[in-house]
């Protein structure tokens, strides 16, 4: 029985098809990359799994339990965590407090929540910035805080939304190192959406490629790069961009 199974998932917005019957499965402990050109329906797929959209058809099964159309806070309680590209921060909560909120999903007591939060921060090497406000931090740091926040809810599967976009090489490598560490040390299954192929190729054990709301390929990074359709999809996009 697969860890996360997505079957014939379909979602369209007023006639505009975003996902047309996407199916795939993830095994426990894997690091899976989901790639595809802009408008391929990556984010929609993501949101359908996590519960921001409820799919028009198809099923999402997590650990053998159907979670199709669950609200985000319920999918989270089932054990799925996620991060966001941008962190909104207005009320000036500190990094620590942000992560504490995550921890609160498991505990009620402030002090235990605090302990757990700082533990996670240390694990991600953020211990020294725990009293800063999020908007005082560089983008790379913010992403990590987002990751920490999600981790604090103790997920078994974590879904990362373009975690590397806008980061330079060294930062990206750092993130990659972190993800591997998470995967090995905390046995967390990782499912990441990426636009940039390079990053995904290096970190993922398997890659799924979407284009126009369809799954066009799935397999080892090595095979994917050679895959005709994939190249066409990406080239096509580049081609379009250049003109």
């Amino acid at each position: 029985m697969p860890f996360l199974e997505v079957a014939h998932l379909r979602k369209d917005f007023g006639g505009l098809v975003a996902n047309a019957g996407v199916s795939f499965a993830i095994e426990e402990g894997e690091i899976i990359g989901l790639i595809g050109p802009n408008g391929a329906g990556k984010t929609t797929l993501f949101n359908c799994i996590v519960g921001y959209h409820s799919p028009d058809a198809g099923r999402v099964i997590f650990k053998g339990k159907e979670i199709t159309g669950f609200k985000p806070f319920r999918t989270n309680r089932e054990g799925i965590g996620r991060t966001f590209q941008i962190m909104k921060a207005t009320t000036g909560m500190t990094v620590l407090e942000n992560v504490m909120v995550g921890a609160f999903s498991g505990v009620d007591d402030r002090h235990t929540a605090k302990a757990q939060a700082s533990e996670i921060l240390d694990f991600l090497g953020l211990g020294n910035v725990s009293d800063y406000h999020i908007n005082e931090l560089p983008i790379a740091m913010q992403r990590k805080v987002g990751l920490a926040r999600a981790l604090a809810t103790r997920p078994q599967l974590i879904m990362l939304d373009e975690v590397a976009s806008g980061l330079n090489h060294t930062e990206t490598d750092e993130v990659i190192r972190l993800l591997r560490k998470l995967n090995t040390e905390k046995q967390i299954t990782i499912f990441l959406i990426e636009h940039i192929m390079e990053m995904v190729m290096s970190v993922s054990q398997r890659v799924i490629v979407l284009d126009g709301g369809r799954k066009i390929a799935e397999g080892l990074p090595a095979d994917i790069v050679k895959n005709e359709e994939v190249i066409k999809a990406y080239l096509g996009e580049k081609y379009a961009r250049s003109h």
Binding site: P72, F73, N76, T91, G102, R110, A113, G146, A150, A152
Partner: protein, 327 residues
């Protein structure tokens, strides 16, 4: 529990301030203040109570709520009616009023929190106006006539009737509220609310049930405000929709909290401490003079505008800015 009395995370200045303020509250009746000043003081404490309640949903939760008056009304009417109908002592009817308010807030909170932002704000106004209209025409509860509480010849603790004002009682209520809020702001709910205010999407992804959280905060607010309402009933010995359920009251409550500074423990207190005396003094000073009609309100509103434009974070924001400027 211990969090309630733990102010350690506040700056030294704030802690000293709180201490001085508390001392002042305790000795206040003995400094020979005029009884009008006493009355103003009671109003101030009452409205800080209201404000702190509003702060839980409006400040920490970031849901602009403009219908608190309906809970003042529920609290006040429960106390008044039970006293008139069945001679139920205040100490029984007041908690009951709180219960009713909380129940009611949950019931209407469920649909209300489908709404966001201004839709929510207007909807809260509507619900409280509807309740007011109902009470204004409901014969059983005295309709627009309202309810008069019997005056007791002799001081009567059971019914909270004393010749001299029940000053220390409202002080006590004030501290209960203050300590509760001090705990609240660092409780699980408190943190979750702040997260919701920051970013609802993210909050949801962290396993927070938005609606349920908001309802809990809303119920908290309702409870606080209902307590105040109960007090108003025994303090004025008269309850009528126009004075306990009016839109003005709702707006005043929100106004004070917002002006003082939302999502901070002191904000509502400062706001009330600023607006209540301003309102009462200006009113009694200019109100009686011909040719000055409206002048008091002009000053009042000028100050409101000035603060909101000068420092969006309210008076508390200004104070902090001031001290930052110093150190």
């Amino acid at each position: 529990m211990k969090d309630a009395f733990d102010f350690s995370d506040f700056s030294r200045a704030e802690r000293i301030g709180l201490l001085i303020f508390s001392l002042f509250l305790i000795i206040f009746p003995w400094i020979g203040a005029s009884s009008f000043l006493k009355a103003v003081m009671i109003q101030f404490l009452l409205f800080s109570l209201f404000g702190m309640g509003w702060n839980s949903i409006g400040g920490y939760g970031g849901q602009v709520e403009l219908g608190q008056a309906q809970y003042v009304g529920i609290g006040a009417y429960t106390v008044a009616l039970m006293m008139v109908w069945w001679k139920v002592p205040f100490w029984l009817s007041m908690p009951l009023g709180v219960l009713i308010a909380v129940g009611y807030s949950c019931i209407i909170g469920y649909p209300l929190f489908r709404l966001r932002g201004h839709y929510f704000a207007i909807a809260t106004i509507c619900t409280s106006l509807v309740l007011k209209d109902i009470f204004e025409n409901w014969k059983l509860v005295g309709a627009a006539k309202g309810v008069e509480l019997p005056i007791h010849e002799h001081p009567d603790f059971l019914y909270m009737q004393f010749k001299s004002d029940t000053y220390y009682f409202i002080v006590a209520l004030f501290y209960v509220a203050l300590f509760y809020m001090n705990r609240f702001r660092r409780s699980k709910l408190g943190y979750q609310l702040r997260m919701i205010k920051d970013d609802e999407e993210a909050a949801e992804s962290l396993g927070i049930d938005l609606r349920w959280c908001k309802i809990k905060a809303y119920a908290t607010a309702a409870a606080f405000v209902a307590v105040g309402g109960g007090f108003m009933a025994v303090y004025n010995l008269y309850v009528d929709p126009a004075s306990v359920m009016d839109l003005d009251l709702s707006i005043k409550i929100a106004l004070m909290a917002m002006l003082g500074g939302t999502a901070s423990l002191w904000g509502p207190v400062i706001g009330a401490g600023f607006l209540v005396p301003l309102d009462r003094f200006l009113g009694s000073w200019l109100g009686g003079h011909k040719g000055f009609i409206g002048l008091d309100f002009m000053i009042y509103s000028l100050l409101i505008m000035a603060v909101s434009a000068y420092q969006p974070r309210g008076i508390w924001g200004i104070v902090q800015q001031f001290f930052r400027g110093r150190t």
